[in-house]
């Protein structure tokens, strides 16, 4: 078992810098998820930790050992690939034991590890099948089994669930979670799906354009996003953003005037603004209510999901706003909707997109 530390890690292809200096600490036994839009460098970063990509500069240590110059096999890591990378000509048994056989482990030892992994993943009855005879979920488990038998210090997962259908994805999510609880190993998991990140992670690292936007626990990222990018990326449906101007008000409060003239009075929580400072107000759809004072908008589309109703509406200045309302709420397209706004849940971002006020409801 081991912690993973990244110090000023960069990666360039020619003149193009893909990874722009990443510092990160992943504690021993932590489940860390790298999340971000496609092309953000999350898979590249994982492959650099695995040793499949060179590190241009910076240092990487696993369990206190510097690893930048160590071969993949010497790093004590095991990787589960997006495509599973099962060897099509080998049985499940051979797939799982291949690496051990090739690196000179004793047959008895291999057999013991194989049994243990197969039991843990319910693969015992499938050991003599070829990958082509397995379902998607079974293939996934074989790929995980191949990682387990190596008894690595760190497990690396590269979007392992993206080839599965929705139901299976939910099931495998819990299975991997259980595996983490059983093995207590450090796991690093890459995904573009923020729901996957929220449900599985102990720590989420949000990456964008080769840099870390924010790292923290799922709820920390949800309640206290550091900037517009993280605020927009974490949470579903997405946070609403409305442009406006802020000005200091009495008792340390801040008054925000939105584009359509509506006013929202926020608790300043120690933050200061200058008069008529341009800002972006962020508020999640689940923190708005249909009915009640505050904002007035025209309904463009209503989605009745039974458990809830989603209204997609437009403010007078043309900006869009989504409201997650009670399942019984009703409003026809074109009608006017009064939207209630909870000032305590409002986030405020300055013109550089940096959070000035967190709408953290847990406080």
């Amino acid at each position: 078992m081991a912690d993973v530390t990244l110090r000023a890690i960069t990666k360039s292809f020619g003149d193009v810098r893909i990874i722009k200096g990443i510092d990160l600490e992943i504690a021993d036994g932590e489940f860390c998820v790298f999340v971000g839009p496609s092309g953000c460098g999350k898979s590249t970063l994982l492959r650099m930790i695995a040793g499949l990509e060179d590190i241009t500069s910076g240092s990487l240590s696993i369990g206190g050992r510097e690893m930048a110059d160590v071969e993949p096999a010497g790093r004590g890591v095991a990787m589960v690939f997006q495509s599973y990378a099962l060897y099509p000509h080998m049985t499940v048994r051979d797939n799982i034991s291949f690496g051990l056989r090739m690196t000179g482990h004793k047959p008895a030892d291999i057999e013991a590890r194989l049994r243990r992994a197969a039991d843990m993943l319910q693969l015992t009855h499938l050991l003599d099948r070829k990958p082509s005879q397995l379902s998607g979920g079974q293939r996934q488990r074989v790929a995980i089994g191949r990682a387990i038998v190596r008894e690595p210090q760190v497990f690396l997962f590269d979007e392992p669930l993206s080839n599965l259908d929705a139901a299976l994805r939910v099931q495998m999510r819990t299975e991997i979670g259980k595996l983490h609880a059983d093995l207590r190993a450090t796991m690093i998991y890459v995904t573009h799906d923020q729901v996957e990140a929220m449900t599985m992670a102990g720590k989420i690292v949000v990456l964008n354009a080769g840099a870390v936007e924010q790292a923290g626990s799922p709820l920390e990222l949800y309640h206290r996003p550091r900037n517009l990018f993280v605020a927009g990326f974490i949470g579903s449906p997405r946070m609403n953003f409305v442009a406006g101007t802020a000005a200091p008000a009495a008792h340390g409060r801040i008054e925000v005037v939105l584009g359509d003239g509506a006013r929202v009075l926020l608790d300043g929580r120690g933050a200061t603004v200058t008069a008529a400072q341009p800002v972006t107000l962020g508020i999640r759809p689940e923190h708005l209510t249909a009915g009640g004072g505050g904002l007035r908008a025209t309904v463009r589309l209503a989605e009745y999901l039974g458990s809830e109703t989603m209204f997609y509406a437009q403010l007078a200045d043309g900006s869009g706003i989504a409201v997650k309302a009670d399942g019984l709420a009703k409003a026809a397209a074109g009608s006017t909707l009064d939207i209630g706004i909870n000032p305590a849940a409002c986030h405020l971002f300055d013109k550089d997109g940096v959070a000035v006020i967190h709408g953290d409801l847990t406080r």
């Binding site: 060179d54 241009t56 500069s57 930048a68 071969e71």
Partner: protein, 297 residues
């Protein structure tokens, strides 16, 4: 800033060269180096046994005064131009056979058959087919026109007779390339085009042929190379005759340097260099295109 380039993992740096070494060395020895040697030899007067004398570009100057060279060159152009007919002909047969009726697989195999047979046998078959007095073709021509023509003995027709023999397997080759291409056409595109009311030739031109471009490229490569490599059929069917009228560069070179009486190594090498230069134009075109695909991959 410490950089960790691939100076590590020596195994992975050395490995490709170890894997390459046997094949690459043999290929260098037997293919790449001999090309340079041939160019070198072409500047010498050499009978293959005695001492060689440097004569600079004399061999090339002599070529320009040699009628046989122009005959060969002209025939090579005919080969190249007429061989290209194999591409549309192959496409036509492929379209004809691209159906699913009982036994069609066997038909496809049998249509492909001529390509499997060696050119020597193809040459013999067509020699028999063209033979005066009893050959099948003179009989048919005799029946149609009233005069039997001995094709391979007639300077006017001999080269075209040989080219026709060469086209037979070449058409089969292009056909199989197009059959495979047709098999891999995206059926939804064809269906979408049908909804757009494209049919017949419009469908072929706008929808099918663009999807067959990889097949067309390979057909073009193998046909051009095949045309310029023509040697076997000329040797078997006419040995360059009558009166040297069916010579092509490859056969002309063989006569000068490699046959029983051919000892003009320098002169033959010069002919080979000319043929190589012509081919190099096409090879460069092909390689450029393949390189562009590699870059895009």
């Amino acid at each position: 800033m410490a950089t960790h380039r691939s100076s590590r993992w020596s195994q992975r740096r050395l490995a490709p060269w170890l894997f390459l070494a046997p094949g690459a060395l043999l290929f260098l020895l037997y293919v790449i180096i001999p090309i340079g040697q041939s160019v070198w030899i072409s500047f010498y007067d050499w009978d293959g046994l005695g001492a060689a004398t440097w004569i600079g570009l004399r061999n090339y100057a002599d070529l320009l005064d040699d009628d046989s060279f122009y005959t060969s060159l002209r025939n090579n152009v005919w080969w190249l131009v007429l061989y290209l007919l194999a591409i549309p002909a192959g496409l036509a047969i492929a379209l004809f056979l691209n159906q699913t009726v009982t036994g069609i697989r066997l038909y496809k195999s049998l249509f492909f058959f001529p390509f499997v047979i060696s050119q020597v046998v193809v040459g013999l078959i067509f020699s028999w087919f063209y033979a005066p007095d009893f050959g099948l073709l003179p009989r048919i021509l005799g029946f149609l026109t009233g005069t039997e023509t001995a094709i391979l003995a007639d300077e006017r027709y001999a080269t075209f007779g040989i080219i026709a023999a060469g086209l037979w397997p070449q058409i089969a080759y292009c056909m199989i390339l197009y059959l495979t291409g047709l098999n891999n056409i995206n059926p939804e595109q064809v269906e979408a085009a049908r909804m757009d009311n494209a049919r017949g030739f419009a469908m072929l031109w706008h929808i099918v042929l663009p999807q067959l471009r990889p097949a067309t490229f390979i057909a073009l490569v193998v046909t051009v190379i095949g045309a310029l490599r023509s040697f076997d059929l000329v040797s078997i069917m006419t040995a360059g005759g009558p009166y040297g009228s069916t010579r092509v560069l490859s056969y002309f070179m063989y006569e000068q340097s490699l046959s029983e009486y051919g000892t003009a190594m320098g002169y033959g090498a010069a002919i080979a260099v000319v043929l190589f230069a012509i081919m190099l134009v096409f090879i460069s075109l092909f390689i450029t295109r393949m390189l562009m695909q590699e870059r895009n991959a």
